[in-house]
């Protein structure tokens, strides 16, 4: 029962990663693709969390990389300008 639920949650994470990849492939703008890739990296972090011995370096590094990448993409794709600044 427990093993089946564990496998089912891994399968649900894989399905959501697949749907996010579909959105990144279809994406209507480059911001959509950036958002989808950030969400995809968070799904990978959750999958690492579910593994039996957590590779904490890989999970923290991936979360940090997703954060920095999204902030820089938002800044430079917006040409360094924000609407209210």
């Amino acid at each position: 029962m427990t093993a089946a639920l564990y496998a089912l949650s891994l399968a649900v994470l894989a399905l959501s990663a697949l749907l996010i990849l579909v959105h990144a492939w279809r994406g209507s703008s480059v911001f959509d693709r950036a958002l989808a890739l950030e969400t995809l990296s968070l799904v990978v972090v959750a999958t690492l969390l579910l593994s039996a011995d957590l590779p904490i370096d890989a999970a923290l590094g991936l979360a940090l990389f997703a954060f920095v990448t999204t902030v820089l993409l938002g800044y430079f794709l917006g040409q360094g300008k924000f609407p209210r600044e």
């Binding site: 949650s9 959509d32 958002l35 972090v45 997703a66 902030v71």
Partner: protein
């Protein structure tokens, strides 16, 4: 509670968190524009990450304070950074004039910069003014 019972509860929590990630993915595919799509993975992924972390600790049989601390650190980092990064991304998209859904209500944010400044100066925006009571 027995060890098997704790593992079962952990597996159920992990499944609930994974379903939150599925909600985030379906929201990305189904919502009408970027500004609504941005909120689905932010909310769903932070709550799903919390559920997956608690569930995985219970599922793999405790393991002492170090495991709790590592996973709590990871969840805290994600919950702090995910709203910030999505906010930066959406602000960049608004500055570039990414189209909004037609049903959007409220002050327009995907106008050029001068237009938004003019709206704020003339005071016809929908934001609260300093003299607004309450």
């Amino acid at each position: 509670m027995s060890d098997a019972g704790l593992s079962l509860i952990g597996a159920l929590l992990s499944l609930a968190g994974a379903l939150f990630f599925l909600i985030a993915a379906v929201g990305l595919l189904r919502l009408p524009d970027l500004f609504t799509r941005a909120h689905a993975p932010t909310k769903a992924a932070t709550l799903g990450m919390l559920l997956v972390a608690v569930g995985s600790v219970l599922l793999h049989g405790g393991g002492g304070a170090a495991i709790w601390l590592e996973k709590a650190l990871l969840v805290l980092f994600v919950m702090l950074t995910m709203p910030i990064s999505t906010q930066m991304l959406v602000r960049g998209a608004a500055a570039r004039g990414v189209p909004q859904a037609p049903a959007t209500q409220g002050a327009p944010i995907s106008q050029p910069i001068e237009r938004v400044d003019a709206i704020e100066r003339s005071g016809s925006g929908r934001g609260p003014t300093p003299a607004d009571p309450g």
